[in-house]
């Protein structure tokens, strides 16, 4: 049911809501849990993830189509994708620092963190497995990034509100965060009627 033929915009909206990277695939959890105690920081991280996802997915798509497949290196794709992501993030940070210093102040510090974010590699692999074309890949990357941003911002907002409340000792920190994430995931299931691709 995946593959060419699905409207790229359906993919875009679906990746934000119904097949959200965090809330339905549970990818990119480490930074989602650890950097979600403050809304401002979480939102900055979300934006960086979105940016990196779009760019690395485009590059990985091209690398896959024009390098990996012609050379028959499919069995090496995981290693190659990770290297490409790491290198891209590195170059992006340098370029951002040079040409967009203001943006670098806001987002740049998150870039090294994102290199090892599994949501990034996850999107690339979904694109390969589901056999998306270029436009679909770009919109899928953008949508997944925005979805990730939405989820971490929502969580951070909840945690910020919750910081004023007393919690049982054993639940404080990651414990309650996982429970909230679970409830949020349940809520996102409510969107599943809107699109049919998942």
């Amino acid at each position: 049911m995946f593959g060419n033929g699905i409207n790229p915009f359906v993919i875009f909206f679906a990746s934000i809501l119904t097949s959200n990277m965090i809330l339905s695939n549970f990818l990119g959890m480490c930074s989602y849990i650890s950097i979600s105690s403050e809304y401002k920081t979480a939102s900055g991280l979300g934006k960086s993830v979105t940016l990196v996802m779009v760019i690395t997915n485009m590059i990985n798509y091209l690398v896959y189509k024009f390098l990996i497949v012609p050379l028959g290196l499919e069995y090496l794709r995981y290693i190659i994708f990770i290297m490409v992501i790491a290198a891209t993030v590195q170059v992006m940070e340098l370029a951002m620092d040079r040409f967009l210093p203001d943006l670098h102040v806001k987002l740049g510090i998150f870039l090294p963190l994102i290199t090892v974010n599994c949501a990034i590699l996850g999107t690339t692999l979904f694109i390969i497995i589901r056999d998306y074309d270029f436009l679909q890949s770009v919109l899928f990357g953008l949508g997944s990034g925005l979805g990730w941003w939405l989820a971490i911002s929502a969580l951070a907002a909840i945690r910020e509100k919750m910081a004023k409340n007393k919690l049982p000792k054993g639940l404080a920190g990651p414990g309650i965060t996982f429970i909230i994430t679970g409830i949020m995931a349940l809520a996102f299931i409510g969107f599943s009627g809107i699109f049919t691709i998942t």
């Binding site: 920081t41 900055g44 390098l67 050379l71 290196l73 069995y75 090496l76 290693i79 190659i80 290297m83 490409v84 790491a86 290198a87 590195q90 170059v91 340098l94 370029a95 620092d97 040079r98 210093p101 203001d102 102040v105 510090i109």
Partner: protein, 365 residues
């Protein structure tokens, strides 16, 4: 064959990516030559932009304190930047107070040198460096105190103020797996820039003192860093009252030699306290100095001399002796170095004599 192509293609791809990074590093991270202006023109450095301020400074052998190595987790590498550092980063904010942010303080490990930067570095920090020294001589001064003399490398010198201290870095030995560092006052005179003398008392179970007393021998390399500390001679007076106990003699000795050598017009009274005669050292040296210099008075005192000591000098706690000899606080500064107990007792006595708090300088250990 398949193994070969795998290895080859992975190497080629990673090589290509590395090349891209190196190239972008070269073009994007090249900010040309930047000038660092330290302390309003006191020192000008030309560095290649692109690395952190901390790293750029250490390339020129100016070492700011840093424990985390540039990860923005220790907050020690603070400097006041006047211009050229760009906006403050979120990584720095947790380590700076509101006042510090207003005054332009930054973490030097987070500031990237992209343009000319003007900054202020406190004079003391400016001077702090690490030295790889060699043990020149070890003297057994008493049953538990050793004097060690360290020689600096041929092309290096240390300038310090009499009374300051250095940190001595140990190497792992025996069961001690880590390298530690401890502070010891410099006992030699500041004009001797090539050598540093320390006086170290063996503390039972002390990691560093055990290292010095039992594992260090002449000719060994020892790393020190410094000079540190604000216990040094002010000299805004006509008379000094100096009180030391045990290995607290070290900074006082440096001050005495400094005053004599510079020919300062200061009267010096040095009270040196110990328990029995076997705890005293450098007696002949100071007695000789006192005999040759009319403005230097040396008063050693024992709190519990044994009969076999045949002690004819002052007896009693050092505070009692000071109480007997020091009449008033007129135009005097006091310098104390010893255990916290001794210092606190002396602060009381001196306070009763009329010494103002800002005329008493001390080094507790």
């Amino acid at each position: 064959m398949e193994i070969l192509t795998t290895v080859l293609s992975v190497s080629l791809i990673s090589g290509g990516l590395a090349l891209i990074i190196v190239m972008s590093e070269h073009f994007l991270n090249n900010y040309g030559e930047c000038r660092l202006d330290i302390n309003k023109g006191e020192k000008q450095l030309t560095v290649n932009g692109g690395s952190s301020l901390l790293a750029s400074l250490s390339e020129h052998k100016i070492y700011l304190p840093s424990a985390c190595g540039g990860k923005a987790t220790c907050g020690l590498c603070k400097v006041q930047v006047l211009e050229g550092a760009g906006p403050i980063l979120p990584t720095e904010i947790p380590y700076l107070s509101k006042e510090e942010i207003e005054q332009g303080y930054r973490l030097s490990c987070q500031v990237k040198v992209k343009t000319n930067i003007a900054l202020l570095i406190p004079e003391e920090l400016f001077n702090i460096r690490a030295y790889q020294t060699t043990v020149d001589r070890i003297d057994k001064l008493t049953h538990d105190i050793k004097g060690i003399r360290l020689r600096l490398p041929d092309d290096e010198e240390m300038s310090f103020k009499a009374g300051q201290y250095v940190q001595l870095h140990t190497k792992p030995y025996g069961k001690v797996k880590d390298s530690v560092f401890r502070a010891y006052s410099i006992a030699s005179v500041p004009s001797e820039r090539k050598e540093v003398e320390l006086i170290i008392r063996l503390v039972p179970e002390g990691i560093c003192t055990t290292y010095v007393h039992e594992h260090l021998s002449e000719g060994d390399p020892v790393m020190i860093s410094g000079p540190y500390g604000d216990f040094y001679l002010r000299g805004n007076c006509s008379e000094l009252v100096m009180i030391a106990g045990g290995s607290g003699l070290a900074p006082i000795r440096s001050i005495i030699y400094d005053v004599l050598e510079k020919g300062l017009d200061l009267k010096m009274n040095f009270f040196f306290g110990a328990v029995t005669k076997k705890d005293l050292y450098y007696l002949d040296e100071f007695a000789g100095l006192a005999a040759r210099n009319g403005n230097f008075i040396f008063i050693p005192a024992l709190s519990a001399p044994r009969p076999e000591d045949e002690w004819e000098g002052e007896t009693g706690l050092i505070t009692e002796v000071v109480d007997r000899f020091v009449e008033n606080a007129d135009d005097k500064e006091a310098y104390l170095c010893g255990s916290p107990g001794m210092i606190n007792a002396c602060l009381n006595v001196l306070g009763n004599k009329g010494f103002d708090q800002d005329k008493i300088f001390y080094d507790k250990f």
